[in-house]
Symmetry: C2
Subunit: 221 residues, 2 copies
Amino acid sequence: MSIRNPKQALYEQFAIVAKAFGHPLRLEMIEHLAQGARSVEALAAKLGQPVANISQHLQALRRAGIVSAERDGKFVHYSLADASVLSAVAAVRGLAERQLAEVDRIVRGYFDARDDMRPVTRDELQTLMRDGLVTLIDVRPPDEFALGHVPGAINVPLGEIKTWSADAAPDREVVAYCRGPWCVMSFEAVAALRSLGYSARRLEDGLPEWKAAGLPVEMAA
Amino acid sequence: MSIRNPKQALYEQFAIVAKAFGHPLRLEMIEHLAQGARSVEALAAKLGQPVANISQHLQALRRAGIVSAERDGKFVHYSLADASVLSAVAAVRGLAERQLAEVDRIVRGYFDARDDMRPVTRDELQTLMRDGLVTLIDVRPPDEFALGHVPGAINVPLGEIKTWSADAAPDREVVAYCRGPWCVMSFEAVAALRSLGYSARRLEDGLPEWKAAGLPVEMAA
DNA sequence: CTGTCATTCAATTATTCTATTGAATGACGA
DNA sequence: TCGTCATTCAATAGAATAATTGAATGACAG
């Protein structure tokens, strides 16, 4: 198909970008890169995929201008190229949530069972934190926590929930968050805490959305 | 690939939606559907494509929840399912415009040559129209104009620019708009008017964006 | 210069997507 | 009921994409 007119040429470019979003693994990669820059190997480890596979998907994302690469010694660190990557993903996600019955089914079948209370919004959380009413836990792995987290949050990776809760005040509400709106770890954390008798809720979405909303982020531990 | 966890199942759904955006023809179909509902045959005629091909692409879009179908006698009218379809396209377009060198090249090679002045923003246009300083022309075909246009606009399809301009006031500035930000017809109209000695500019984007901004739309002719 | 390690490339196979063709469906009017 | 017309389905061939494997690159340490 030869390029007959410039509009078609432009739409071919736009299609390259949209197509790059059109693979579940690449969407998951974007969720991880939204936490901060990652090397190919680190991403591959997080996703449990062969390095070469991740490398190829990263290059598809780079050709589409979704991620950018920066060489640092023998590592190449990839990160999101543009803040609007997250808004593009959010637009697609919103469309899917509103229009696809299958999404509704998945959400109802799995998530609702674990999160029958409505999630805490960012505004609510800020009020609750200011008044000192809740304990905020970040259930992501320590390396992601170290690269940035909500101020005042405590890092409690999913595997340590039980240990941690033994020492926590039993009558204080816990709010958990993780990588994004559909990150399963915060759902699991809330379910675990509730089964241990705690009052727990989920933040409506994750750190990248918090950052994108212009709210402050705390570094290091 | 079996569904191991609900997050992957969700990402597969999101990928279906994103993938549906990932074809130049489907993006062009979305641009047309943004003007108003269309039958399969009408869309096929506008795009110069076989009906069966358009029908199949429409069903891909429908499976992705991007368009919805409504039967009316023997016709099936398709339209955009959700206002956020346009914002998803806009996010992808913005990303491509900012990140892909190829887009820059196409725009510079073709559009800049025909539009060396900055386009008129919607706000500017409203001021200019209120003060009666410009003539606004809608260069889309009459059927699209009839389904809704910017109040005060005159319908001057591309082929009639020359005839129309003969009767137009020669010292009055003309603003042209069409289907969207990269619709070539408004670029062509501005180029034609300038070559005829008129002062002409383009509106920054088209009718769907005007409507999406909550501004009034006039119906019929 | 050589070995090591992160990343990329190249080649293969399996899968999915695209365009095209002609036949099937479903609604309308005679 | 029958023919017509808009749309969809089904089947095909050709093209693009995905995952896997092993080899090649490029940077660092000794």
